[in-house]
Symmetry: C2
Subunit: 230 residues, 2 copies
């Protein structure tokens, strides 16, 4: 008994917890990063049911004031919310592949394009879902502003056109390699698909890039991986 | 003449350009970071007049698709938008003081709290300004959603109460030292002051922290520094 406890403590020492929801586009960003960095085995997943509003309960709000997923809990209890912050943490933990940039210039560009992907695509799709559609339902969506939601839907489509244009000139969203910025655009398109907001038909570069991204194991297995014991 | 040109080229080699507006709360974040890191002399400032909508012209949108200030242009022409990205770039350029964290845990916490300061205070104040007040005037504010603006004003006040509570327990917003996250909250309170949204009277910890922050030369001189030749 004592030996088992000791072993559990040893195994748990470096173990992290990800508060997660398997179909959530934001949690997918962290799962993709974990897979890219081969860190899956260091994380246990705890489901927080968005459809039941479990992310808005006092217990969860104590973990993340903003009431959003994902949240990474370190072995020492430190709580890190926000995808960019979690990815930065994971990336600084170990080496290749580097998702947040190896040089100052790369780091600047990757952080910029990640934020731009949020501002111009992912976050607008999220606002459209929560305000311009029934969202998570009347029990969870206590306030909706449909006009704002539709406005953000249009912004997201403009964002798709921006990234399409960008990807006619370069193979990845920022710098010369796959990065956190690609993951943010992927999450935007995952969310857009969930709310039936298709990529415009003439956005060939964006569609071709997305097909390449979906072929990456980290992206293809993003939901299955949350169900597999590490 | 040739000698002067050569000298100018030499001086310009490592010179960066900040697209800036002296009273803008977002550009202030980068000016404060520059002052903290003693990098002021490496940057020339170019004014982009927000009240005239110069940040929405095609020429500026070509520099930053999102049409926001600040933007940092490197000597090689690379354009970096978004305050977090610019601060990350500047911080990785040189050493102390480190504004984005020295360890993985610090980096994670600082990025999280910076984003939280944006989500829960600075960005809501900005949305309130642009949607719940006349903002930059009818020539620039082509669409307004006053209900959303007022909603965000209330969110910002809740954000102040969140940071007040946090600052009863710790001297800085993230980790144990002054960081990018403090700068983001400072910018939120600068913007709140501009739109006459005061800190609630009972938020003693937030008010005391803000008084300490305003006494820092980087914060006190944030407007004057943009007018001084490097």
């Amino acid at each position: 008994m004592a030996a088992t406890e000791n072993m559990e403590q040893t195994c748990a020492a470096g173990m992290m917890t990800l508060y997660d929801w398997r179909t959530g586009p934001y949690p997918a960003r962290v799962r993709i990063a974990l897979a890219e960095k081969t860190l899956r085995a260091r994380v246990r997943f705890v489901s927080v049911n968005l459809w039941k509003g479990e992310h808005k309960t006092p217990a969860f709000l104590a973990k993340n004031y903003s009431g959003t997923l994902p949240v990474l809990e370190l072995a020492d209890g430190t709580l890190i919310a926000e995808c960019t912050a979690i990815t930065q943490y994971l990336d600084t933990l170990d080496g290749a592949p580097v998702l947040t940039g190896a040089t100052p210039r790369e780091q600047g560009l990757i952080h910029m394009m990640t934020r731009r992907a949020e501002l111009e695509l992912l976050d607008p799709v999220s606002v459209y879902f929560h305000h311009g559609t029934p969202g998570l339902g009347p029990q969870v969506e206590l306030y909706q502003n449909p006009e704002w939601g539709l406005r953000q839907r249009d912004r997201a489509v403009r964002g798709m056109r921006y990234f399409d244009d960008l990807l006619t000139r370069q193979p990845f969203v920022a710098a010369g390699a796959f990065s956190m910025a690609d993951i943010a655009v992927i999450a935007g398109l995952i969310f857009a698909d969930l709310v039936q907001l298709p990529i415009p038909e003439d956005c060939n570069a964006l569609s071709a890039w997305y097909a390449r991204m979906q072929a990456r194991p980290s992206v293809a297995n993003r939901i299955a991986m949350s169900e597999t014991a590490p």
